[in-house]
């Protein structure tokens, strides 16, 4: 080693500079691939969305924002946007509420914590297609949970579930919360474990009740985690497709239709490519509104750290 250090093959600084250039070179294939498959393709989708390509034969004549104007006037798309809003809000509230409850419960030094944690989290490991298949039967009005309610005398809780346009979307929310609430639980639990025990002890010494401890000290410390969870789950719900596709499809009177389904059917079943591209771009804009500020915020936070 001493010999290698005293007899460098070339000046060290030059070699280091060469290595930085090599670093940029080696990362280039990935950057190019993502550049084409993400940014290039998004650009091309925007172009298609502004073209007249609404039949099987490609027609790339420029029509401006006409497809977008027509899209926003389409009743089905208006329903989709409303469904997305309802779905996102209730899904987020469900996941955050249930996730926090589970995390706080598991944080009480419970016996069998590992078992409970695994049970709450396992739905994250299976596909939306599988869970959609299971919930499609569980919420089938003539069987599933309705039978359970009947058996325990809670007939009042029986519901037509996804066959009733008024509540169909909440059936999908139920399945989605079942699948994703373990994620918020895991995030909150990691946050709770990161809070120093001294802080809890200090609050208890000062005479705070457990409720006050959580309400005034612990919950505010979990705010950054709530933000992360809202971004991650929120962007998933804005682009939800598989679960709805497997469970209910568009539903009665488009009651469970979402832009992801509309885009898929318009493009690949209806061959209306320009309109499908326009839907996709609206979806992208919705997701970008949520994700870009978050990306900027977290990269800046990292640079300051």
């Amino acid at each position: 080693m001493a010999i290698a250090a005293s007899l460098p093959r070339r000046p060290a600084r030059l070699r280091v500079r060469r290595d930085y250039a090599l670093s940029a070179l080696l990362v280039t294939p990935s950057v190019l691939a993502v550049g084409i498959f993400v940014y290039g393709f998004i650009g091309w989708t925007i172009y298609v969305a502004m073209s007249g390509w609404n039949s099987f034969l490609p027609d790339l004549s420029f029509v401006g924002v006409r497809n977008f104007v027509e899209l926003f006037q389409t009743p089905r798309f208006q329903i989709d946007l409303r469904n997305t809003l309802v779905f996102t809000v209730t899904f987020l509230l469900g996941c955050l509420g249930l996730g926090l409850l589970l995390a706080v419960l598991l944080d009480q030094r419970v016996w069998g914590e590992g078992f409970f944690r695994n049970v709450y989290l396992f739905p994250m490991s299976i596909s939306f297609i599988v869970s959609g298949t299971a919930w499609q039967w569980l919420l089938n009005p003539s069987t599933g949970v309705n039978l359970l309610f009947e058996a325990v005398g809670l007939d009042r809780l029986k519901s037509p579930w996804f066959t009733d346009p008024q509540i169909a979307i909440y059936s999908v929310v139920l399945a989605a919360v079942w699948q994703m609430s373990g994620f918020t639980m895991a995030m909150y639990l990691a946050g709770l474990r990161g809070i120093a025990d001294e802080l809890r002890e200090a609050a208890r010494v000062d005479g705070a009740s457990e409720w006050q401890l959580y309400r005034h000290i612990i919950l505010p410390l979990l705010n950054p985690i709530t933000l992360s969870a809202v971004i991650v789950l929120g962007h998933i719900s804005l682009k939800i497709f598989d679960l709805v596709f497997a469970m209910t499809g568009s539903g009665p009177a488009f009651s469970t239709d979402v832009p992801g389904i509309f885009m898929f059917e318009t493009t690949f079943r209806g061959n209306r490519f320009a309109e499908g591209a326009a839907i996709a771009i609206v979806m992208l804009l919705m997701v970008a509104t949520v994700v870009i500020p978050y990306l900027v915020w977290s990269t800046r936070a990292e640079r300051e750290a």
């Binding site: 990362v27 091309w44 989708t45 589970l102 709450y120 490991s125 079942w178 596709f245």
Partner: protein
């Protein structure tokens, strides 16, 4: 303190009730998958089978087996290559920050959040074009789907590895540099031997993602014989003529590989999950 004991009992009751809620779909899938065809009835969904019968599983497996094979052929290359690229990128973007590296990284990251609908039309056109003009058959094939999963997997695998390598002290890399090791030598001799936990997290993440993915699969592979298992399950479950106990057995079989990964390697699965929230 009796009051405390009462709250603890209530707490356990709540934990158990919630656990039952999470296990409900599993019970229904297993219970009805194990029934004989004569015993299956919508009105007796919750009653246990009088005898365990594997007929439904056999029938579901007979239909899904070729697609299982497709999914395995898809997952293996898509995971290995995406993990390898992620490891190299993560190393470069954390230990060899060239000018512009801080711009490249968030631009890469954005790729893991986009709705894939926004790239789907050009993607299909591009893969078809490759087949038409260069005779590279990627549209409609598992190889094409694997390529897609590799490219769109780069952002998350890079993120996980970058966060993982950030925990390796820079001094270690600098010491190797003083010893005369270059960029590649340092990776091979210092970074790679430390990378095992990172690879476990990334591999588990990517296997789960690729196995479970549906949108790319259904648009890129049209021919039923070439489809991955999720698409085949969807066709099975959406069919009016397939008995529903076979659908449930099929759903369980499709879920089994990732479920087993989760049961045995849940700790690492969780780490990948949390990395998705950008906090390594």
């Amino acid at each position: 303190m009796p009051r405390l004991r009462v709250t603890r009992v209530l707490m356990y009751l709540l934990l158990i009730a919630l656990a039952l809620f999470y296990l409900l779909p599993v019970y229904v899938l297993v219970n009805n998958g194990l029934k004989s065809f004569q015993e299956v009835s919508l009105s007796r969904m919750w009653e246990p089978p009088s005898a365990f019968r594997l007929d439904s599983f056999a029938k579901a497996y007979a239909r899904l087996a070729p697609n299982f094979r497709n999914s395995v052929l898809l997952v293996v290359p898509a995971t290995i290559l995406a993990a390898a690229l992620g490891s190299i990128n993560g190393y470069l973007l954390s230990k060899w920050k060239f000018t512009g590296a801080d711009v490249v990284f968030p631009l890469l990251l954005f790729g893991m959040f986009i709705p894939y609908q926004s790239v789907l039309i050009p993607l299909v056109q591009f893969l078809q074009w490759l087949g038409r003009t260069l005779d590279i058959r990627l549209y409609g094939t598992i190889a094409g789907l694997a390529l897609v999963h590799i490219v769109y997997g780069i952002p998350i695998t890079t993120l996980i590895f970058r966060n993982y390598y950030a925990t390796v002290p820079t001094e270690v890399v600098e010491a190797a540099r003083i010893d005369g090791a270059g960029l590649l030598g340092t990776y091979r001799d210092v970074i790679l031997p430390l990378s095992m936990p990172g690879f476990v997290v990334v591999i588990i993440w990517q296997v789960t993602q690729v196995w479970n993915e549906f949108l790319f699969a259904v648009t890129i592979t049209g021919n039923p014989a070439r489809q991955p298992v999720q698409v085949a399950l969807r066709n099975l479950a959406g069919s009016q003529i397939i008995e529903w106990n076979v659908q449930m057995a099929g759903a369980l079989l499709t879920a089994l590989p990732t479920l087993l990964v989760y049961v045995f390697l849940g700790r690492y699965f969780l780490r990948g999950l949390l990395a998705g929230a950008l906090k390594g």
